[in-house]
Chain length 215, copies 2
Amino acid sequence: MVRIKVMKAVSAKNDEIAAGIRAELAEQGIKALNIISSPGSGKTTLLERTIAHFAPEIRSAVIVGDPFTANDAKRLEIAGGNAFQLNTEGSCHLTAPMVRAALDEMNLSGVKLLFIENIGNLICPAAWYLGETARATLLSVTEGTDKVDKYRRAFLIAHCVVITKTDLAPSCDFDLEKATTDIQSLNSSVTVLPLSATTGEGLDAWYDWVQQHLL
Amino acid sequence: MVRIKVMKAVSAKNDEIAAGIRAELAEQGIKALNIISSPGSGKTTLLERTIAHFAPEIRSAVIVGDPFTANDAKRLEIAGGNAFQLNTEGSCHLTAPMVRAALDEMNLSGVKLLFIENIGNLICPAAWYLGETARATLLSVTEGTDKVDKYRRAFLIAHCVVITKTDLAPSCDFDLEKATTDIQSLNSSVTVLPLSATTGEGLDAWYDWVQQHLL
């Protein structure tokens, strides 16, 4: 019981800080996207493509969460992103205080799009609000069709579900139709976007979604 | 500070229950393997193959952890496993008390091998001891070579690292040599076993490892 009470207090404090972040970003005309997925589902690769697609007209910044290393921030720096690495030292999700600390050190002048690449984990990040405008959950075809129902919270809270690595679908027995139906029966208002960042198939629909919801 | 203190108490209680599980399994001549990976890395498929390989001479049982659904326990039942589903209702890792509760309801008569399929998460399960004899961490080639360093705790605490889905390696730019070096530089005593449960390549070395360490 003690643990639950403490967790509730931590969560309430998180939401208060998240609300502050949301208000501040709105004031600066910045839209933020919280990106959630398992490890290796293609968050960083999709961000590399997306930032490059909208540059230089639209300036992006990225907060990259990882349990250890700063490799992703380096990749996004090369792709033109203003990237800030948040290392959680093994913790399994980002929190609003972590994002607050990152924002305090970032230069967001001229930035329109803020991507928050959450820790690679399909469970915990779905429970922590960071002050974002919208949430995108990624599922790679290599993970399997059954993951929608098993990790349902990540799909319930998403505004957009991106099915990644569709070029590998023939080798993976992934049922796109069933996955889409399952996602939409959990969350009727969600957009489902299959794509391959390798072949480029489906990327235009994703860019359209970003344009429409975040710009 | 309160949260840390409470978490330490929870963790100490967990380890006490885990020690009890370990002693009880040893008394019954049962070896337990805690299996850790991201969602969709192939834990259930590898278990289907392994249980079928050792049956009927060696009787196995499985505790299957999932945030939601009981699909995996059903799959393993078909494969001849004595499978018990633990649903964590969204929680991100198994704990010793959860395993204790499962064991209290399972019939382990004649069982030699107990597989504990942890929640699909490469972070939190690495921090919770369940009373197992050994730990196997799975990494699929589709997740990428860089995941070793990022999710290093899961590799640090493993007795065996299984690189899965090697049939997909040519499409995935996975560097097996680098991954193996990275894993062994984190953990010099670990065995690294690349395999494909689809083509069967590498399965014999895995069965040998199970035979040597758990039978």
